[in-house]
C-alpha cells in the first residue's frame, strides 16, 4: 500500500480480555516500530523489528505485551489480560533502514479498556 496501515482504528475491550493490533508497513521497509501514547503524552517506545535481526523488546512494559512480525512484513501487537492502564493510542511506524531514515507512521489504534 501507499502508507502504513493500522487496524482497527478504535478498539474497546473489557478488562481482562486479550487484544490484537495489526500493522501493515510500507512495502520493502525493513524496520518496524511500535509505540504507545497516552493522552497528552509523548511516544513510549515498545518494540523494534529490523530485518532478520532479533527484535528490540526493551520497551515492552510487561510480559502481557508481545509482538510478532511475520515474513518481514505485517506485525501484530498482542496485549493479554488487558488492564485499564493499557488504554492509549498504539502507533506503528516503518522505515527503509531503521533509525537513519525517516519513519512513516500509521494513524494508530485507540485502545480503550473498560
Amino acid at each position: 500500500g501507499a502508507g502504513v496501515s493500522q487496524s482497527p482504528s478504535n478498539k474497546v475491550t473489557e478488562k481482562g480480555k486479550d487484544v490484537e493490533l495489526r500493522c501493515d508497513p510500507i512495502s520493502g521497509h525493513t524496520a518496524l516500530y511500535w509505540y504507545r501514547q497516552s493522552l497528552g503524552q509523548g511516544l513510549e517506545f515498545l518494540i523494534y523489528f529490523q530485518g532478520n535481526s532479533a527484535p528490540d523488546k526493551s520497551g515492552l512494559p510487561s510480559d502481557r505485551f508481545s509482538a510478532e512480525r511475520t515474513g518481514g512484513s505485517v506485525s501484530t501487537l498482542t496485549i493479554q489480560r488487558t488492564q485499564q492502564e493499557d488504554s492509549a493510542v498504539y502507533l506503528c511506524a516503518s522505515s527503509s533502514t531503521g533509525g537513519r531514515t525517516e519513519a512513516f507512521f500509521g494513524q494508530g489504534t485507540r485502545l480503550t479498556v473498560v
Partner: protein
Amino acid sequence: SQQGEEDPQALSIQEGENATMNCSYKTSINNLQWYRQNSGRGLVHLILIRSNEREKHSGRLRVTLDTSKKSSSLLITASRAADTASYFCATDGNSGNTPLVFGKGTRLSVIA
C-alpha cells in the same frame, strides 16, 4: 526509555511570530529528526539532520544541531494557525541498529 526532551512543553504565540522549540538528548547519535503530530494520531516527518551537520532548512523550518551540547532547536518562521500541533524530536543511537526514540513533545498553539 526517553532519549530526547523537548522544551518548552507548551508554547502559545500569535500568527506571524516565530516559534522556537528545543530538544536535548543524552547519548551520541547518528541523526536527529523532528516530527509533527496533529490531533493525537500519526506523526509526520518534518526534517532530518545528521550528526555532522549544524543547520538545515526546509521551507519555513530551520533546524540546528549542537552535538557538543547534545541539543537541537526547531524554528518555525512566520507561523500560521495551521502550524498548531505537537512537535517531537527523535534520535537514533550511533551503534548501528537502534530504534528511533522520541521526546515528550512541545505543544504549539498559534493564535490567529
